[in-house]
């Protein structure tokens, strides 16, 4: 048994001070310790993008980050975007454009798109597809996801 490490992490505005094993992945901390199961775990080696969250505003694979490395950080998960009663604008765009079927990839898509929309102009569909290239969807064929992000970009650009 290795020595546990004390960490303090703020997740969706709530601070958590806990002791964790160094080998605990941030994805597992979020799901198992905090019971925030919106963050999905797919490949667990950084290929599928389902576990994407925001750390201090930047999108990050939570399966490629140790919980101890997020000590002191502000984390946002898909639960921060809205809920079933009140969807956030990006969630609403996904709903309007039928951008999900089984929903497994959706939390990662939403968090990736959140960061893309903040950082890149996303002028063309090619730019949107490039931005989403790190997130795998096995249902939709991507067309409707691209359409949803395009709509969210237009809404962003209208201010």
């Amino acid at each position: 048994m290795t020595e546990k490490v004390s960490i303090s992490i703020t997740v969706n505005g709530t601070q958590h001070c806990v002791e964790v094993e160094p080998r605990l992945l941030l994805a597992d901390f979020i799901r198992e310790n905090l019971d925030l199961t919106g963050t999905h775990v797919g490949c667990e080696h950084g290929i599928c993008g389902a576990c994407t969250i925001l750390i201090n505003g930047d999108s990050v694979r939570s399966c490629l980050t140790l919980a101890v490395q997020a000590d002191g950080a502000e984390i946002e998960t898909v639960e921060s975007l809205g809920d079933a009663e009140e969807l956030g604008p990006l969630q609403q765009a996904f709903r309007d454009h039928h951008a999900l079927q089984c929903g497994f990839c959706t939390p990662g898509m939403l968090m990736t798109a959140t960061d893309m929309l903040r950082k890149y102009p996303l002028e063309s569909d090619d730019d949107i597809r490039d931005g989403l290239s790190g997130n795998i969807c096995r249902c939709t064929g991507y067309q409707h996801i691209v359409a949803a992000v395009r709509a969210a970009r237009d809404e962003r650009d209208r201010g």
Partner: protein, 283 residues
């Protein structure tokens, strides 16, 4: 939990990190961005009793101009910062182009240049850029600081000349002559995937005469390779000869993404395109 148990040290200073590596006789490993290391931990391909986290060490990130007209890039500089840096765009547009091929935003937010060089994946972009631009990699260890030419740094796939107790602290790039043309070509099955093959080139002309050409190849050899024979062929006989020379100079391997023969062919095609683009851009 997927990784095997390990101890964890959040180093506050380089001295503390070097001391921890030395005390473990090189068994401990460093973690920075973790974007290559943590997948290997999850697969249990890597195991170490202690991981020393250097993310909290001050002064290891950032991009500054140095006296020789080039840039010094701190080891902890994230890929996203390289991608968006005006200094990088002004000094080395070839790096700016290369960054478009480096993985995906979530990886670029976290991955570091020091990590990419130390990991030494032969299909990665930044190691190839470092040999293209004659970078010097600066490392610190028990015996102090050491500067390693990029050409002497990469020894084999995932193997560098770095000692197990050394830490990369920065990369220094010499300035390029004004008007240097460049080309960067990569083919992968999906944007952001590992390169099946890639070629980067720079070209300098004086009054229309070629004075310097550099060619680096990745994904098609055991290490990122500075293709000196292809460069010589370019100087003496032109682009087609350079592409042919490159095909003979590399030793690609077969894998799921492509056969060695395919890679050899592809590297030649990409070499031609990169040299065409560099010729076009060279003033």
């Amino acid at each position: 939990m997927k990784p095997a148990p390990f101890e964890y040290l959040r180093a506050a200073t380089l001295e503390e990190a070097v001391a921890a590596l030395s005390a473990s006789d090189g068994a401990a490993k460093l973690v920075a961005g973790g974007q290559s290391l943590i997948p290997m931990l999850n697969f249990r391909l890597v195991d170490a009793p202690l991981f020393v986290d250097i993310n909290g060490i001050q002064g290891l990130s950032g991009i500054t101009e140095n006296e020789n007209g080039g840039l010094r890039i701190g080891a902890l500089t994230r890929h996203f910062e390289l991608e968006t840096s005006h200094l990088v765009r002004d000094h080395y547009p070839v790096i700016n182009e290369a960054m478009k091929y480096v993985a995906h935003l979530a990886i670029r937010n976290r991955g570091t240049i020091g990590g990419s060089l130390s990991h030494a994946d032969p299909a990665a972009e930044l190691p190839a850029i470092s040999v293209l631009l004659d970078a010097e990699i600066i490392a610190i260890g028990q015996e102090g600081e050491r500067r390693i030419a990029a050409g002497d740094f990469f020894e084999a796939p995932l193997t560098t000349s770095l000692r197990a107790t050394e830490i990369v602290t920065a990369v220094e790039l010499p300035g390029l002559p004004i008007g240097t043309g460049w080309g960067f070509e990569e083919f992968s099955q999906r944007r952001g995937d590992y390169a099946v093959a890639g070629v980067a080139a720079t070209m300098t002309k004086d009054d229309g005469d070629l004075t310097d050409v550099r060619i680096a190849v990745f994904g098609a050899h055991g290490t990122p390779l500075r293709a000196h024979r292809a460069e010589q062929a370019m100087r003496e006989r032109g682009i087609t000869a350079a592409a042919e020379a490159l095909r003979l100079e590399i030793d690609p391997s077969d894998d799921l993404r492509g056969s060695a023969d395919y890679r050899r062919h592809l590297a030649g095609v990409l070499c031609k395109r990169a040299l065409d683009a560099a010729t076009e851009r060279a003033a």
